[in-house]
Amino acid sequence: MIEKALTGGKRYWFWISLLLACIVAGAAMYMRQLSYGLGVTGMSRQVSWGLYIGQFTFFVGVAASAVMVVIPCYLHDTKQFAKIAILGELLAVASIIVCMLFIMVDLGQPARVLNVLLYPAPHSVMFWDMVSLSGYLLLNAVVAYNTLSAEQKGLHAPQWLKPVIYLSIPWAVSIHTVTAFLYSGLSARPLWMSAVMAPRFLASAFAAGPALLILLIIVLQKSARYDPGEAAIGKLATIVTYAASISTFLVLVELFTGLYSGIPHDREGLAYQYAAPHGFWGMTLWMWISSVLMIAALAVLLVPRLRQSRVALAAACVAVFVSLWMEKGLALIVGGFEPSPLGTLTAYRPTCTEWGIALGIWAIGALMLTVFYKVAIAIRTAAR
């Protein structure tokens, strides 16, 4: 199957080379981090989680969003999704591996990571996160592989695959709920300790993931001449619209509770995000850009005429993805530590090394996705 990814035109190999270059650069940066320690990042005693954990959180959402194409396709027999379910499942596999890589680079003692398996701690949400993420990876890998393998032979997928697919649906919801629980059970961090974290994570995931999928389909239509049809894109756009609306609503709901209650730590946390207290303007600028992008995206998505326009839809999807990447991939995580329990605000800015390592991991994800999609599309077109 993999041999299908070894043939391609000039553009394809240029893209692969670019990704490999990013990966090598990222690996070199990681060697530097391994040698010196996590001091090469912008993290501090107060802000002890940063870009890496933020990116992990964001990409768990992207992985979970595969369920948004699997549900209509397999539970509701929505014909239009038959051509994109596999794209969602493969995106899930690549995303989960990206998540795991981000966790690995965040560890202070990565060689000891197997301690999580050797000394299981069921009282820790992180243990269950490891279990659910590994399980989800396995489920999607099995489903994607068997589906493609059957297609390649011109057969229907095996019957036993159906219950596995059905299992992946609640499992997808669970991976992002567990990830939200990592944060929402901590009494030390008022910004995170909210029941709304889990629904908010799911809503933003179901907006960002399908938005990315739409963009990937547009790319595939141009570069691989693979067209799942306008109806599929239209349905995905509807999902993004609903999910982005709910996600925004949940953000506003959080703002109300924090500001109206007047509880100092809640208020100060939101002030750090939106009101640039004491000269800390960086995060506020970041969050306002994210908010404006989301508002602009919703302005397009909520108008059917605009949503059906290819250019407007693509722009809106980019805006949704970037907005939620900014919010979940950095702001929410760093924001949880500001102010610290003793009331101090600490500036956090990812260093070049941090960005370099992150770029390397994104490139690994992109490389995997490229290879997966090349194989899948080659099998699909051959089968026809």
Partner: protein
Amino acid sequence: MKLTRKEFLITSAATLAGISGTKLVTSVKAAAASTGEDGKPRWAMAVDFQKCQWDQGCNQCIAACKHAHNIPDVPEKAHEVKWIWKELYKSVFPQQSEWVDPALTSHPLMLLCNHCSNPPCTRVCPTGATWKRGDGIVMMDWHRCIGCRYCMAACPYESRSFDFGDPRGEIANINPDFPTRTKGVVEKCNFCEERLGRGQCPACVEECRGHALIFGDLNDPASEIRTVLRSRYAMQRSPELGTGPSVFYLL
């Protein structure tokens, strides 16, 4: 018999999964078996901060702790490592400072790990590298810590520090009686459990010039700490979180 590449890969993956699965099951069994309970006292500390001789330039508690445990002097403040340190009263109790005597609210308090009776940090540790001992001390196992820093996120008191680099280079005089740590692990006050094991009191308590730190066993009604907690009002940091801190600030 012809073995295809596909079959080889699938068989290898399945074997690996099988081996890992059995190892996981045996580890879960082993984890369930060991408990690591210890002793009967319940160690606690009362901070009579108004006796602190900070105005005479005294930082003996911090210096004693640093020497006893090879705590590094990291130049970057963002990466500092501290087991016991001082903060002003109004930073520690911001919601209870408004109409209080400024002499009190500007007074430094000694802060350290609270060795909570219901610690959020031990609850979240994915490897059991930090756990609560039977005598109340929240322990650190620097051999097992993977440096995920979940405990640092969970601690409501900012008591935990992380080794962002190799701490060995930042220690002026290594005390050979206690190990240093290495980069990539979380560290915090351990109530001098190694000294307690030898029948000594914690280093900070011993070195305090003003007798501002009172350490003892809460399970002993005749202990100094029990006596002082009965006779004077004591505050705790964020008690409403249900952590059950073992450090009391006497008023």
